[in-house]
């Protein structure tokens, strides 16, 4: 027991974050604890997400991993020139995952993966200085991915499957920097849509040149979440009486891309008890050009340029079998922000981040294990602005210092038969 605590302390002192934009990298506690590496790691059904090709190399006939996490994130804002300061007290996010894999025969495995790789909850104080950009936003998307993995040889496998996404968005912001009703309540709009459906796919390949070395590749396609007419509601509040008639509640259309992600990496076993993994992920955020919302009243088309750029994540992680029952893990990743200078909008205030992860698995018996992980996301203070808000034909700048961090902690179970 003493040994376990010692190991835990070490694991936690090697701290880990989540990813840029509205990506939430919490797709398995075993892999998250290892810096969210996993494209070349075969330890559990978590491979259904990280690399479907790996499922076919799993021990056991049936592998199941279930887990959930809480995301506690905070962003603070200040503007020295004008004396503004604000803090986004974001509600706790709860990403989860459920993976299952069944070995149909020696060369074919089938699996099902359910996970939540995108999401965002940001809640600024209502009517804060940036309220014309966002008061609060909640994005969520659940991915369901039936998966097949085929062992082409003992050294090479492929896998993949279609992805069905169901998503939801709720976004509130003020209509302008000053408009209010007769009582001084600021005019605002909330758009809300759920049950937005879309399709995509994931494919992977795995190569095991030796017993101790694994190479992996995974590509998950871009998925456009399109809100069509009738899918959601646009609720206009606190319009002054003279304008209320021009801003009736109604529906809206919009589109938000969930960008494609390409990952390749390697894992090797320097000794019987150690496993070290490296992943590189390229996220094709350039798909996120603009968040345009079309209303069907006087509000018209709201254009909100984003111009994200493609970004990289560099990950490293390790695991160590401390005892027969305990496996400890730690990792680190560096996550580049996809946001260009001048496009730093407070609804996704994610600068570059360094991320420290740690966790462990505790084997209850030969079948059941408990998996836990924590992730600490640290960003340096940035001074940036959003310069594309248009008021009366002029592009206005809203900026200042931002600093954010997040702590993710979660627990799950694995089952192996």
């Amino acid at each position: 027991m003493k040994k376990l605590l010692l190991v835990l302390t070490i694991a936690f002192s090697a701290s880990v974050m989540y990813a840029g934009g509205y990506r939430v990298g919490v797709q398995g506690h075993k892999q998250l604890a290892m810096g969210h590496t996993g494209v070349a790691v075969v330890t559990s059904a978590e491979s259904a997400f990280f690399n479907p090709a790996g499922l076919v190399y799993l021990d056991g006939e049936l592998n199941v991993s279930l887990g959930a996490a809480v995301v506690m994130s905070n962003t603070v804002y200040q503007n020295r020139e004008f004396g503004y300061s604000s803090e986004a007290d974001n509600p706790i996010g709860t990403p989860f995952y459920a993976y299952g894999s069944y070995k149909i025969n020696d060369w074919l495995s089938a699996g099902l993966a359910v996970y939540t790789p995108y999401g965002s909850r940001v809640e600024w104080p209502t009517d804060w200085e940036g309220s014309h950009l966002v008061n609060e936003i909640e994005l969520s998307a659940i991915f369901v991915q039936p998966t097949l993995a085929i062992k082409l040889s003992d050294k090479f496998s492929i896998g993949g499957g279609p992805i069905y996404v169901t998503g939801a968005v709720n976004f509130n912001r003020n209509l302008s920097r000053s408009l209010a009703d007769e009582a001084g309540n600021r005019s605002n709009v909330t758009i809300d849509a759920s049950g937005i459906n879309a399709w995509g796919y994931s494919v992977g390949a795995m190569f095991r040149p030796t017993e101790d070395i694994t190479l992996g590749f995974n590509y998950r396609s871009k998925i456009d979440m399109d809100v069509e007419r009738g899918d959601g509601t646009a609720d206009f509040e606190n319009l002054p009486g003279a304008l209320a008639g021009s801003f009736p509640d109604g529906d809206f259309t919009s589109s938000l891309p969930l960008p494609a992600e390409l990952t390749f990496g390697a894992a090797f076993k320097p000794s019987e008890k150690w496993l070290v993994a490296f992943d590189y992920t390229r996220t094709f955020w350039d798909a996120y050009k603009s968040l345009d919302v079309q209303f069907f009243n006087a509000a018209g088309l709201s254009r909100n340029p984003r111009n994200y750029k493609n970004s990289s994540i560099y990950k490293i992680g390790a695991q160590y079998e401390a005892t027969q029952k305990v496996i400890v893990r730690a990792g680190f990743y560096y996550d580049e922000s996809p946001i260009r200078d001048g496009f730093f909008a407070p609804e996704t205030p994610r600068p570059d981040s360094v991320n420290f992860t740690a966790g462990f698995s505790y084997n209850l018996n030969s079948k059941w294990a408990i998996d836990a992980s924590v992730l600490y996301v640290h960003s340096n203070e940035v001074n940036n602005s959003y310069d594309s808000f248009v008021e009366a034909g002029q592009r206005l700048s809203f900026g200042g210092d931002y600093k954010s961090n997040a702590l993710v902690a979660g627990i799950g179970v694995s089952y192996k038969l």
Partner: protein
């Protein structure tokens, strides 16, 4: 389970570490400083512009956005204390306007709003609730008294309700004068200010201008008791008065900032109605010209007999044509030919300024007679137009006042804000730090103007957004002069015009 508890403990530590902290948080002491100034007791002295007057009155929510109140909120970052303003708690409808003895006080109407069903400004259609005779008898940090001219600030009895009937008192000051014979400056100084703003003198020329030059230029006459409401104050009186105000405010070593007077002819009250607002076709023009044929003929007769020059005859000759036409005005500076039955008419030129209320009468029929049209067949009276000659009179007085303000401020080592330059910047487009551009345009009903109009509907006073620009300008000069670091103000967050569906 034991290790789970340990796990939770570590988690709790992580949570504790979760609050992000800036390297240099602005709420750290020393971020904002007052430099060599001391904002602990800030007193603002002036007229309507200091009081937060907008849309033709002071109303409860509007007063919250007076420029000194906005400044005081920023001063709080740098050692500023409480800033009090006259109480408008009794403005139940948030409408402004006064009652005296329960009866609406003429000339003190409710605030102007845009009536969307009519498309123009109207007084908010509610009864005022503020009773002038409810005396507050309190000196406030905001000692801006709407309507006050320079010499009123030191005039005992200006706050005496008994003087209202004879026009020697001001209902705004009556409401809060500490005693019937108190003076505005005396009440201000009684607060022992450590810092002050002084912006006074606008009304010493403004009422002459807004009345279309109906008043008298009293330059050379130091007897203010003989002045009419619309007269221009003698610059000598102004300078003497101003010196006294500054002496009183600086007596205990207070620092402060004084403001020069902007060119009143740049405000929307004078720039909104063009000199040539009358569209006409050729047939109508011929008809109207026919009506002036005998007047034009009379001018030729007068010129032929040497009563006026040929240039004046040409200047006075009235001629309409197809297209936009200048209004016909009465100009008392023309050679008086009334003895010959020739009135003092001419058409306005680009150098004349029509006052904002003239938009309500130009082109209207007089006595329901379709041949009697204001500005066309019926010349506009003197009070609707500020002629080029009258404009020069106003400018001369303003220049003299501003020279006095700057020299007195310099002698007392006070900060000076050149409000004349600020208004000139608005004329060409004043760009704020966020990138927005504001102008001196009157609200034109467009959705853009909802976000960018900075003048209120009275055409003279800023709206809340405009006062925020003024507060920001004051702060910039204060920071510069006193080595202070007071945070600036974003005008774009402040409200503009009020539009109601119907009235």
């Amino acid at each position: 389970m034991k290790n789970n508890i340990k796990y939770l403990a570590v988690l709790a530590l992580g949570l504790f570490a979760c609050e992000p902290e800036f390297d240099n948080p602005i709420d750290e002491s020393g971020t904002y400083t007052s430099g060599s100034a001391d904002f602990s007791t800030f007193v603002a002295v002036g007229n309507s512009l200091t009081a937060g007057f907008m849309d033709g009155t002071v109303f409860r929510s509007g007063q919250q956005n007076s420029f000194p109140n906005i400044m005081a909120q920023q001063f709080e970052f740098a050692g500023g204390g409480t800033f009090t303003q006259p109480s408008y708690d009794d403005d139940v409808n948030d409408a402004g306007g006064f009652l005296l003895g329960g009866v609406p006080l003429p000339g003190f109407d409710t605030r102007l709003v845009i009536d969307a069903s009519e498309g123009g400004p109207e007084n908010l259609n509610v009864t005022p609730t503020m009773e002038v005779s409810n005396l507050q008898a309190t000196a406030y940090n905001n000692m801006g008294v709407p309507g006050a001219k320079s010499f009123h600030l030191g005039a005992p009895g200006y706050g005496n309700i008994a003087n209202l009937a004879i026009g020697a008192a001001n209902p705004y000051y009556v409401r809060h004068a500490t005693e019937p014979n108190a003076t505005v400056i005396g009440d201000a100084v009684s607060l022992n200010p450590t810092f002050f703003t002084l912006w006074i003198g606008n009304n010493d020329i403004l009422s002459y201008a807004t009345s279309g030059g109906v008043g008298v230029d009293q330059t050379g006459n130091p007897n203010v008791l003989s002045y009419g409401f619309n007269d221009i104050t003698d610059p000598g009186v102004f300078a003497f008065t101003y010196q006294g105000l500054v002496d009183a405010l600086t007596a205990n070593g207070a620092k402060g900032i004084v403001a020069t007077l902007p060119d009143v002819t740049s405000i929307p009250y004078f720039t909104t109605v063009p000199y040539n607002p009358i569209p006409m076709d050729a047939a109508t023009a011929a008809f109207v010209n026919n009506g002036y044929a005998s007047y034009n003929g009379g001018l030729q007769f007068a010129a032929g007999n040497g009563l006026i020059t040929a240039e004046e005859a040409a200047q006075r000759t009235i001629s309409f044509s197809a297209g936009q036409n200048a209004v016909v005005i009465v100009d008392e500076d023309l050679t008086d030919l009334t003895g010959f039955g020739i009135p003092s008419y001419r058409q306005a030129t680009i150098d004349d300024l029509l006052v904002l209320p003239s938009s309500g009468i130009i082109g209207e029929e007089v006595n329901n007679d379709p041949t009697q049209i204001n500005g066309v067949s019926v010349p506009l009276a003197n009070n609707w137009v500020l002629t080029a000659t009258e404009i020069q009179t106003v400018r001369d007085a303003r220049t003299a006042y501003n020279n006095a303000i700057v020299s007195i401020a310099t002698a007392n080592d006070l900060a000076v804000i050149d409000m004349a330059a600020v208004l000139e910047e608005l004329v060409s487009g004043l760009r704020t730090a966020d990138g927005q551009i504001y102008t001196n345009n009157y609200f034109d009903g467009s959705s853009d103007a909802l976000s960018t109009a900075v003048f209120s509907l009275d055409g003279v006073h800023p709206n809340a957004r405009g006062y925020a620009i003024i507060a920001d300008q004051f702060i910039q000069i204060i920071n510069e002069k006193y080595g202070a670091n007071v945070p600036r103000v974003t005008a774009g967050y402040y409200p503009g015009v009020t539009v109601v569906p119907s009235n």
